[in-house]
């Protein structure tokens, strides 16, 4: 973990209620896709956690969904604004599963951390299948970026306005995969684990006090006892969760 100050480079709407914020600043604490950062915002006492979308030396970016007062406030932040951030938090996705055909499954705001994961897995020569779920056609983001990485991408929308009708779960083909990495609504993750007869891991979301393991606010009960989503997680194997 590292506390640092980032400067906003740009803050752009990329789909309905979905924005991308690019920062310049120290990002060396990030070592794995699926890790997160904890942003200090003027409108809240506690920080707000966001998964890191992508990073490179001296820069990083997040993709966020406008869901409440904090993210609404974030859409108004201008380039040049400085934000206090704790970065390099959490464990991140596994890059050494040995899977030849990994399946990446993302629902809505859970999609961003899968992009960097896809890039790293594709870079290892894996045949990556990506299944993305959105509310409707105007909410779709990143699908083209995943395709540009060479992944086989399928899209589902809840209202059927684009791709298949349903969730990301309806868009994936388990017969073509030997491991899954998933992030999205808890109900989707549980349904995934119930349906998929392959090993895999999911990234969980929970309300956090600190984001770095001190307050025990985000504990989830697992087969290995109580685990902190912010420290031992956010990524847990389905075996550990017993899902």
């Amino acid at each position: 973990m590292k506390q640092t100050v980032w400067t906003i480079q740009d803050n752009t709407r990329i789909a309905r209620d979905t924005w991308r914020m690019r920062f310049s600043g120290d990002s060396e604490a990030f070592i794995k896709p699926g890790q997160f950062l904890n942003l200090s915002l003027d409108v809240y006492y506690l920080r707000r956690p966001f998964s890191v979308f992508d990073w490179a030396p001296g820069q990083a970016s997040i993709i966020y969904k406008v869901l409440g007062r904090g993210t609404e406030h974030m859409t108004c932040l201008q380039p040049g604004a400085r934000l206090d951030v704790l970065c390099g938090l959490g464990n991140g996705f596994s890059l050494d599963t040995g899977a030849r055909r990994p399946l990446l499954l993302g629902g809505g705001a859970g999609i961003p951390p899968l992009y960097r994961l896809c890039r790293e897995l594709a870079g290892q020569g894996r045949l990556v299948q990506v299944a993305l779920g959105f509310g409707g056609a105007d909410e779709i983001f990143l699908a083209e970026e995943f395709r540009a990485l060479g992944a086989q991408v399928s899209v589902a929308t809840m209202d059927g306005s684009a791709g298949l009708r349903g969730t990301a779960l309806d868009a994936c083909d388990f017969t073509q995969a030997d491991f899954f990495h998933a992030c999205g609504p808890t109900a989707m993750l549980k349904a995934l684990c119930a349906q998929a007869g392959i090993p895999g891991e999911v990234s969980l979301e929970e309300r956090m006090g600190c984001g770095f393991g001190a307050c025990m606010g985000c504990t989830v009960i697992t087969r290995q006892g109580p685990q902190r989503v912010c420290k031992e997680g956010p990524v847990f194997s389905r075996e550990v969760l017993g899902w």
Partner: protein, 303 residues
């Protein structure tokens, strides 16, 4: 040169800053960020006899200037604290640590206190009779003078080290509880624990926390803490550790002027992991601004 040192129940502290229980784990998360030996001390995570998984999620809510928690004393149990956490702590912290303990019966408080009293690293026992996030324990002992007195008496009898009773603000007359503890031999008092609060989730129109209530902490409660430390200082002669919403060097001085011998910093650590070193860095400059040479001289100075 200003002097930050204070004496708490016969033990010298290089400064009055103690990181508060429940916001500091067993020190390891912060030890990777800074040298813990900068602190006066810290109070480790509330420890019970048996391991506890804590309450169901979500456990955290918030409000302007503060947060609610209903963690529910998640901890590995006193035996694992002694066999694993204290040896790990010894590698990063060389000062006496404050052992925060909770129980569900007087016999349990006695057993945990005996075990921790025997640990060389433990400087003080901080007996939490004020946790609002468990049923049938914690605050039940801290909201009645008779029960507070009974816990104090039982624990005092079996401990060689200073016994500090951590008081709840969720009471009618905190001075009365404080006197009851002093009368039974408490060596010090720490206050305040969190204030009982509640938030709803408007989507479900139900309480946001499955535990229903949570303990409010953070700068929102600072004036309440000051008022209670003020009242207790007038009621007892034993030292007070003041806490509740402290987040700056100025807050430390204000709390000590109200009657605190030392202070604890809690929620501030969660939003700024460097809160304690930041306050320590600022203290000499702020003391100079207010013409304070020795911090130990200002306790109760506002009365």
């Amino acid at each position: 040169m200003v002097d930050l040192s204070v004496t708490l129940c016969g033990i010298e502290l290089t400064n009055p800053l103690i990181a508060a229980s429940g916001t500091f784990g067993f020190g390891q998360e912060y030890a990777s960020l800074y040298d813990l030996n900068q602190l006066g001390s810290f109070s480790f995570k509330g420890t019970t006899l048996e391991p506890r998984e804590g309450n169901p999620a979500p456990r955290i809510a918030e409000c302007p200037g503060g947060m609610l928690n209903a963690v529910g004393l998640q901890n590995p149990g006193v035996h694992k604290v002694i066999s694993e956490e204290l040896p790990a702590l010894a590698r990063v912290f060389g000062k006496p640590v404050m052992a925060n303990v909770s129980g569900f019966s007087i016999a349990e408080y006695v057993e945990i206190c005996q075990l921790l009293d025997a640990q060389e690293q433990v400087g003080w026992l901080e007996v939490n009779i004020s946790c609002p996030n468990v049923h049938g324990g914690g605050m039940a002992f801290g909201s009645d003078p008779g029960a507070a007195a009974a816990v104090t008496r039982a624990v005092r009898r079996v401990c060689k080290k200073p016994v500090i009773i951590k008081l709840s603000p969720n009471v009618g007359d905190i001075a009365q509880i404080a006197r009851a503890c002093e009368d039974e031999g408490a060596d010090g008092l720490s206050l305040i624990n969190t204030l009982l609060g509640l938030r709803l989730n408007l989507k479900t129109k139900k309480p946001l926390l499955p535990f229903v209530t949570g303990g409010l902490s953070g700068p929102a409660i600072f004036p309440v803490a000051l008022r209670m430390v003020w009242q207790v200082y007038r009621a007892v002669r034993i030292p007070i550790i003041g806490m509740g919403g402290i987040q700056s060097a100025e807050d430390v001085i204000e709390m000590m002027l109200c009657g605190a011998t030392a202070v604890q910093v809690g929620s501030a650590n969660l939003v700024n992991p460097y809160a304690c070193p930041d306050i320590l860095r600022d203290l000499p400059r702020v003391m100079a601004r207010y013409n304070i040479k020795n911090l130990r001289d200002i306790t109760g100075g506002a009365h």
